[in-house]
Amino acid sequence: MLVAMHPLFDNRVVFVSGKGGVGKTTVAAALARLAAREGKRVCLVEIEAAESFERLMGVRVGHDPRLLAEVGDGTIDGLNIDPEEMLREFLAHQIKVKALYSRLFRASVYRYFVAAAPGLQEVMALGKIYLLAHERVGKGRAERPRYDLIVVDAPASGHGVALLRVPRLIGASVRRGPVKYYADKLVAFLADPAQVALAIVTLAEEMPVTEALEMERQIRADLPVHLGPIVVNDLWPERFGAEELGRLGADAEFARAVEAAIGDPRAHAAAARAMAVSVRNLAGARPHLEKLRAETQCETLEIPHVFARDRGWDFIDAVADGLGASLAASPASARPVDGSP
């Protein structure tokens, strides 16, 4: 399948962001699914008490990676990262003496310190992702990365951008010490286009497109994270051509023939109404899609609306099919198999 050829899957980590409600979690899961179909070992990560995976797939995801699905040779693990817990883990590791750090965590001053140290917890959350990305398993010749791909269901828009900015901010406000060391490593990692990419998800609607373009603008302005494709989710399919619709309206004989072909007048009236809704949905989406394509410098991918599927992997599979087709059709996917540019 051509999907594996798209450069997005060459990354070690893909962050998925976008306005709240556009389907970030769905798209993140679909990307994981596509990668797993290619035999990859994938980790799907959500940050903080989002519980998004639970609402989407009906599975509870904990603080340790846990197998969610097997897809042929590929696997998808799920993980929820709690930034507070990550900071405590880090500090415990640094301070080493249990009596000391347990006492510290219980002290109220600890809370104030964390509040006064902006981004510290977020850096730890990113650090966990960094560690996962570099974790290796197996011995000798069988040694390999634990995960081929980590897909992160990142916070929405502004928060997502803020999250990715944190390592540089922390690195700038701290002169030395372990935090600076890790923050600097993170800055380099996030900026490496061979390892990390950000995919923005949007809908063909006004506010999501506006926010997606704004996110892109902010990132290009001062955040060296590689921008992958912008994914337009839930796109209404084009089922009826402008010409035939025009003909229906102008040519009475044609209209009668269509009515006769359907037969039952009630069915015909209903079908006409459904067609009107379908046409309207697409017409509504079109200007926003065009604006996005005109103003973005990113590649755009499209996922068609998925009809009548319940939540769960069945739904994700359908979304993955749509996304996969769009990826396969992308010029970026048409790379020579031998790896030459």
Partner: protein, 369 residues
């Protein structure tokens, strides 16, 4: 009242009797538009209404005069309406500043706090602070009493009801006991001398924290609390009042959902979160719902190969798929309806013809409410 305004009415009692409607639900369900529609209905019913929105789409923003007036409550010109509609956009960032402005005993204290790093990051550090600030604005308007009804649009937050938790969380955070450590006059000086006055182990741990992280946060914290100590009492009273208002009989919650199964699951999550706080939405709005198309149960098979037959076949296939999808969505909605309190008003708003919502469209919407 125009003929269009005479339709609908299920939520009229709610709109007439409460002083606040808080519209909740996950991102993208149409809260902003519905808030505006509820507010407009209030005006039609003769009340003086203010709608506080988050991020309206362009047409709606224009219709509500928000492109010009943004963060000030200003009147929206309406015709043939007994009441009045005002609108404004919530500015969650600056209200914290306004609050400090209001509570600070003098300019110097105010300036010290506004410039303080901890203060600047407080809103990010405390999840729900932005939402809390929206509540603060609501509280102010309510206290001022210029409007009969306030309709509040809420942010599309991941953490469903942070705004409800936020007052308590902020108060816990600023809890009195620890505050004392920081406002003791000698503490600030002691910070430079290795915090002698703190308990030994805590001292060591804090010193270690600063060494490990390289962040001199304690000084910022101490300065913040010293400046803040004068205001703490007032802040506490205020936060408690906001909290009380949000859970009082004056506030009604309107939960909004869309038809998609994932969205309905999120609405369920919201509902349960409200219950955890001993709250219940007074209304549930099913927004952008699909038609059932009133087609015969069994759809005709279309034969023939003419262009007309081919189009007819696709039309029937489209109808079939859309109806089936609508039924799956409806089954999820039914699942939600089965678990909610039967006294909750349920309103069903159909998918509109356009996403460019203006005042006319708002009236169309409130015909379903």
């Amino acid at each position: 009242m125009s003929p269009a305004d005479a339709r609908g009415g299920r939520l009229d009692d709610l709109i007439r009797s409460r002083s606040m409607l808080i519209v909740v639900g996950s991102g993208g369900v149409g809260k902003t538009t519905l808030s505006a529609s509820l507010a407009l209905r209030g005006a039609v019913l003769g009340r003086k209404v203010l709608v506080l929105t988050i991020d309206p789409a362009r047409r709606l923003a224009q219709a509500l005069g928000l492109d010009a007036f943004r963060h000030d409550a200003h009147p929206v010109p309406l015709e043939g309406v007994d009441g009045a509609l005002h609108a404004m956009m919530l500015d969650t960032k600056s209200t914290f500043d306004d609050l400090i402005e209001r509570l600070a005993p003098n300019d110097e204290v105010r300036d010290r706090i506004l410039a303080n790093t901890l203060y600047k990051n407080l809103s990010n550090a405390l999840a729900g602070s932005h939402e809390y600030m929206a509540m603060e604005q609501l509280y102010n308007f309510h206290a001022e009493g210029h409007f009969d009804l306030l309709v509040l649009d809420t942010p599309p937050t991941h953490h469903a009801l942070d705004f409800l938790d936020a007052p308590r969380r902020i108060l816990d955070f600023l809890s009195d006991d620890t505050l004392q450590w920081f406002i003791r006059p000698y503490f600030a000086q002691a910070a430079g001398r290795g915090m002698r006055f703190l308990e030994k182990t805590t001292q060591r741990a804090l010193a270690m924290l600063e060494k490990v992280t390289g962040l001199e946060a304690l000084r910022d914290v101490s300065e913040f609390f010293q400046a803040f100590s004068d205001m703490y009492g007032d802040f506490k009273v205020r936060a408690e009042r906001v909290s009380a208002l949000l859970t009082s009989e004056e506030a009604a919650y309107v939960l909004v959902t869309g038809p998609a199964p994932v969205t309905v699951a999120e609405a369920r999550y919201f509902y349960e979160k409200l219950r955890e706080h001993d709250l219940r939405p007074q209304a549930l709005v099913l927004n952008r719902m699909h038609d059932d198309y009133d087609a015969p149960e069994t759809l005709p098979a279309v034969s023939g190969r003419s262009a007309a037959a081919e189009l007819a076949r696709r039309m029937v296939a489209n109808l079939d798929e859309m109806r089936r999808a609508g039924r799956v969505d409806q089954s999820h909605v039914d699942g939600l309806l089965a678990v909610i309190d039967p006294s909750i008003q349920v309103c069903r708003v159909p998918l509109l013809g356009t996403d460019a919502v203006d005042l006319k469209a708002l009236r169309e919407i409130h015909a379903s409410l």
